[in-house]
């Protein structure tokens, strides 16, 4: 499904503060897996997400999605396969566009945009149905600006936007970290619901080990650009592991 082969990535190449993030890094994710990535700050988790989404390109190595080599595709070209939710709820939607305009943009993620109208009766009804599933009561506010929604609501809509066209891979980069505990739980439940309903392959970064255990079907720990742990065992005792490997993980 998703395959990263021998990835090399350095930042600030050939400079005094050169930082090697990945050296000969490989990862293979199977269809339908819900992979949770944990690791300390600066371990390379977000860089991994960015490499997959194409917002940064590797120095060396290859990335495959479903046997298609996407290594040299731009971020917007890979968007055909990838849905993405950012940590910052403000990053995933356009605040000055209406909710329906945002959704209509998401609906064309894998298509070519044309000069036909972005919103019509049919897709408006479809948006209303989909928003109803979020149970936030915003299905009647299609024409409100996105910017008036709360952070939690916006993140829920962003999640919907990322999955409106079923992605081959869903990237969740600490997407609940900026929310209050209640919204955070709600978004996580919603995430699980959408993922299991549509059988989406997903990658989620989190600092919360309980969530990692609860939601992940596979847990990967990254440290210094290497995979320190890769397990399907949900009963794993993190505390022991952290002590043993001398790793700092921020437990929330």
């Amino acid at each position: 499904m998703l395959r990263l082969n021998n990835i090399y990535k350095k930042f600030n190449k050939n400079m005094a503060d050169e930082k090697i993030i990945f050296e000969n890094f490989s990862l293979h994710i199977k269809k339908g897996e819900f992979v949770v990535i944990i690791g300390g700050n600066g371990a390379g988790k977000s860089t991994l997400m960015n490499l997959i989404s194409g917002s940064i390109l590797p120095d060396k190595g290859e990335i495959f999605i479903d046997s298609q080599n996407v290594t040299n595709l731009h971020e917007y070209q890979r968007a055909k396969f990838i849905g993405r939710v950012f940590q910052d709820p403000l990053k995933g939607s356009a605040p000055n566009l209406t909710i329906e305009e945002n959704l209509s943009l998401a609906l064309l993620r894998d298509k070519k945009r044309s000069f036909s109208f972005g919103i019509n009766k049919n897709n408006r009804e479809f948006f209303r149905q989909e928003l109803k599933k979020l149970e936030l009561g915003i299905e009647d506010r299609l024409e409100s600006k996105m910017g008036v929604l709360s952070g939690g609501q916006r993140q829920a809509v962003t999640l919907l936007m990322a999955c409106l066209v079923k992605p081959k891979i869903l990237l969740l980069d600490e997407h609940t970290a900026a929310l209050d505990p209640k919204s955070s739980v709600k978004i996580l439940e919603l995430t699980e619901k959408i993922i299991s309903e549509h059988h989406i392959t997903a990658l989620m970064i989190t600092h919360n080990l309980d969530n990692a255990r609860k939601f992940g079907s596979r847990i990967i720990m990254i440290e210094n650009g290497g995979i320190k742990l890769d397990t399907l065992d949900k009963e794993i005792n993190f505390d022991d592991l952290i002590k043993r490997l001398n790793i700092t993980v921020n437990k929330i």
């Binding site: 968007a79 993405r84 950012f86 356009a94 209406t98 109208f117």
Partner: protein, 302 residues
């Protein structure tokens, strides 16, 4: 009456420029200095074409289309060469100064005695034959309405929505599969098209093109935009984009009325640019100034 209509028609003609700058400044969130060059580019192209006997309507259109190339250059400098928006615009603007001199062959081209779109209307509405001011008004109004309607339609299309989203949240647009570089270039080209069209219209209405006609035009457009946005408190259509576009017309007209008033109050015309710059700065800073005032007035309410 004549003076009022003349002021209104000036406002209508300059609305086209305001619309062009609105696309970059407000929709794309891009401080585009190309305007000052592309306005003159449109004006000089139109004048040069007309002096070679090209139909005035056709000259207008060609001037606009060629002026959109200025936006293409700025867009490529910005998105492909990664030059900052403001600098990319300045580079194009400066380059166009020489281009404009080349096109005209000298600093100033007079259209004296040439038939313009304003005189061509005589054939359609013979009653207006001698009333130049009213003709300008009607033509200005027609062009404004066509521009506003077509821009409103464009921004509702899938591509138009993507352009707006690019200005609002570029990262999101890329994550949703949008080629944001292309969207920026497209918006800059449309903007330059309108700026060039405005230049051509201005040249035809004033009867000459001048290499310096664009100087300060960006500030006039910005002043019109911020004045126009004040009207958003009164024009609250369901269609937000259409409201904004209509406010651009009102803003451009209001700007002309303000200028007319201060000139009549005895302001020296050479001080106009200083005046325009000041009101633009104050209006752009209004949100911050309001906060400051709230702070000062805070004690009263406490």
């Amino acid at each position: 009456m004549q003076v009022l209509i003349s002021t209104l028609s000036q406002g209508l003609i300059w609305t086209i420029l305001t619309l062009g700058v609105f696309i970059t400044f407000r929709i794309l969130n891009f401080a585009d200095m190309t305007v000052e060059g592309s306005l003159t580019f449109g004006g000089s192209l139109c004048a040069a074409l007309m002096l070679r006997g090209v139909n005035p309507f056709l000259s207008l259109l060609i001037a606009g289309v060629l002026a959109s190339l200025a936006g293409l250059v700025t867009g490529i400098l910005n998105t492909k060469f990664k030059i900052q928006a403001i600098l990319a615009g300045i580079l194009t603007m400066i380059a166009l100064y020489s281009v404009n001199l080349r096109i005209m062959g000298k600093a100033n081209l007079s259209l004296l005695g040439k038939s313009t779109i304003f005189s061509a209307i005589n054939n359609i509405l013979p009653a207006l034959n001698s009333n130049f001011v009213l003709k300008t008004f009607i033509i200005g109004l027609v062009i404004c309405i066509i521009s506003v309607v077509s821009l409103n339609l464009f921004f509702k299309t899938q591509i138009g929505l993507a352009v707006r989203a690019t200005g609002d949240n570029e990262q999101m647009m890329r994550a949703l599969g949008g080629n944001t570089d292309f969207k920026k270039i497209l918006a800059l080209m449309i903007s330059s098209f309108f700026c060039g069209l405005a230049g051509a219209l201005i040249a035809q209405s004033q009867g000459y093109a001048d290499v310096n006609m664009g100087t300060g035009s960006i500030v006039i457009a910005l002043a019109s935009i911020v004045i126009g946005e004040a009207f958003l408190n009164f024009i609250k259509l369901k269609n937000k984009i259409l409201s904004s576009l209509i406010c651009m017309i009102l803003g451009s007209i209001m700007y002309r009325i303000i200028i007319f008033i201060v000139l009549n109050l005895g302001m020296n015309p050479s001080d106009l640019k200083l005046f325009t710059a000041c009101i633009t700065a104050v209006l752009l800073g209004m949100p911050k100034l309001k906060k400051f005032k709230l702070k000062l007035g805070g004690n009263k309410n406490a």
